[in-house]
Symmetry: C2
């Protein structure tokens, strides 16, 4: 919202209980200029937003004839009769202005109470997003003199904790009107730079440049919301192909890349090889290697990466093998021990890390991020092996030739 | 919370701005008995919860000596010096009672303001969860006379929209004190049955039994939060093994199962075969089949499932191939066309569905759920192919023998 000239003041989540809903509409409409309401417009008995708003405003619910016709046509196009339960979706508070919902059965609507415009949107994420972009933001621009001097810039960091980042940044003088926010969300920490006012706006670019050089290696993207997306863009920009061999992450890395349209350009295959039999059969890892060094070892990770790469002769392969927990750890290889390997046609880099035990999900998320970061750095012609302050590698290895 | 005798009244999310935080603490503490505060206890400049609470209560911040010693020891154990920025985590409002955080650097604390106990917890999900279970819930039980007549039962449904479910349920009389809630969250719709009061509690089991038989096929679990978890449990209970072949879902199905500890018991391998080359090389799909019928066809899905199953001779294999979009659709096979196959040692079931175009993520999520539901039904000795009201199959096929 900030880059649209609006600051979010508060978000309130209320259960499907009439009294609580009526109260929150009444209360918040005395504090805010605009309230974006999401959800509670569905066809079922627990969808109470329209009725609660009518009560808060002291007006009756009325049927919107146009929306009823629209809804009947909408179902007819899908070869279905309008279900009884959808009829209530045509009821809106008297005086409300209907807002079209091109993708769903619930109409949006807006009306004013106290100082606020309340703007009602359906809970279905795709419908909500479309309505915000196509109707809510234009409505804001038409109705309010929006603050053009608000701006938010984000730097995505990886490999260092919040306090380490804060200590590094502490030496950088922050210009007036600029504030910093930290949003840690495994596996990354997002640094948000807020600029408020003309002077802050003018100083923003130079300040971000200073931050960037202060943070150095820690910054992994300033254009994406994830390392996976950054790697996705780099692979497409560089026209390179990738194969994956995943043990403990079990398809999570593949899935993170396939989320983005166009991943078929570079992802030639992925192998989820949980068992030793699968590592041998799908990736050609020698049984001797598995027996001598174990499934979680630099030797096995290297063989997995090389085997995965060779299978369809891709430019790169990433391999991950580790102990995700909660069981399966040993004294030598406790839960959280993960070996990562990156192979290109000439070289294979491996590193062993010990992810501080939190949960199976965290170990898998961190493993994917480290592997992706190795490839990201290789694509930028940087050294793939780098020291992360909160997950130092216990072992690294670079092997040239085959 | 409900099954612990507590009803959540409201959740408020506030940005890292001092005025808004002070206001929300002051305001909500006049309304609620208990406020669980999460986040804002970190080491960085935008972590304001302790200071805001001190202002709201009109008391100074004081350093907690015991927590400082604890923190110094915590960092020393990790071979690190206490960073300057972590010192502020020892500051709590005067009069606050420290709540131990066994896993992190921020202490929890609680204190009373107006009618409410405010209970502060760190934002790190694992630390939050542990503190809620080990300290917050016992505190609630000791401090309040909790309502023992609150209960929540959930039925997980799949394959039918909210309005279809509501229309089916409309015929069932709901006993006094029982209310229903619907939580649609792609790919499933969760039906929540709330019971409040002794009479409702007594009527709950019989009412749920009626719901269960009314909903029939639509109910996929009453013990899990996802179809993947239900299938995970069934595979382990039945001692069966599974192989996966994923095209458009790209590892998402494997990753959903690997999320659960113990998945290595049954998941013998997964193959992410995006390209035709990968389908041929990894799964042995005949090039003739790919050329004659295309990558998204019942013939290819069947060959993928059989190839994946045969690779390590597992009991079952699931295969998914489809057009996830936003590009790649044709008139004959528009975006959202997905073919799913389930193979066991004797039989292969395939079905083609057309998922209403929403987003790439939705198409992939729905595809995984349909595939998992086929296997779930097979594990329960039910017919794997079933008609979903909102995603009818356009083509189904059952082939016996090899």
């Amino acid at each position: 919202m900030m880059n649209h000239g609006v600051e979010l003041q508060r978000r309130s989540t209320v259960g499907d209980r009439m009294d609580d809903l009526v109260r929150v509409f009444g209360e918040r409409s005395q504090e805010a200029d605009v309230i974006l309401v999401n959800g509670g417009l569905g066809p079922t008995s627990d969808d109470l937003s329209a009725e609660a708003m009518a009560k808060a405003a002291g007006v009756p619910l009325v049927e919107d004839q146009e929306w009823r016709m629209h809804l009947e046509a909408w179902f007819a196009r899908r070869g279905r009769v309008l279900p009884q339960s959808n009829l209530k979706q045509c009821l809106v508070p008297e005086g409300a202005i209907i807002v079209d919902n091109p993708s769903g059965s619930a109409p949006g609507f807006r009306l004013k109470l106290h100082r606020a415009w309340l703007f009602f949107t359906p809970g279905v994420p795709a419908e909500f997003k479309q309505m915000v972009n196509e109707q809510f933001l234009p409505f804001l621009r038409e109705t309010f003199a929006l603050d053009q001097s608000l701006k938010l810039h984000k730097l995505l960091t990886f490999g260092h904790g919040e306090s380490t980042l804060a200590d590094r940044i502490a030496q950088v003088p922050v210009p007036p009107g600029i504030t910093l926010g930290y949003r840690p969300s495994v596996p990354i920490v997002e640094i948000k730079v807020f600029a408020r006012g003309a002077a802050a706006l003018a100083a923003l670019d130079a300040f971000v440049a200073t931050l960037r050089s202060t943070l150095g290696d820690a910054v992994v993207s300033e254009r994406c919301a994830s390392i996976a997306e950054e790697v996705h863009l780099l692979l497409r920009e560089h026209g390179k192909t990738l194969a994956l061999a995943e043990s403990c992450t079990g398809g999570m890395l593949a899935s993170q890349l396939v989320e983005f349209a166009g991943s078929s350009d570079y992802l030639v295959h992925g192998a989820v090889t949980y068992s030793n039999a699968a590592k041998a059969r799908l990736l050609g890892v020698a049984t001797d290697t598995l027996i001598a060094h174990g499934a979680v070892s630099p030797e096995t990770a290297l063989a997995m990466a090389r085997g995965a790469r060779a299978l369809l002769d891709s430019d790169f392969a990433l391999a991950i093998t580790g102990v995700a927990g909660p069981d399966g750890g040993t004294e030598e290889k406790p839960v959280g021990t993960v070996v990562l390997a990156l192979a290109d046609r000439a070289t294979c880099w491996t590193q062993t890390v010990r992810i501080p035990l939190r949960s199976r999900g965290v170990v898998r998320q961190m493993s994917c991020a480290i592997a992706l970061d190795m490839l990201r750095r290789r694509l930028l012609d940087a050294e793939p092996l780098v020291s992360y302050s909160f997950i130092p590698a216990t072992h690294t290895h670079v092997e040239h030739g085959h």
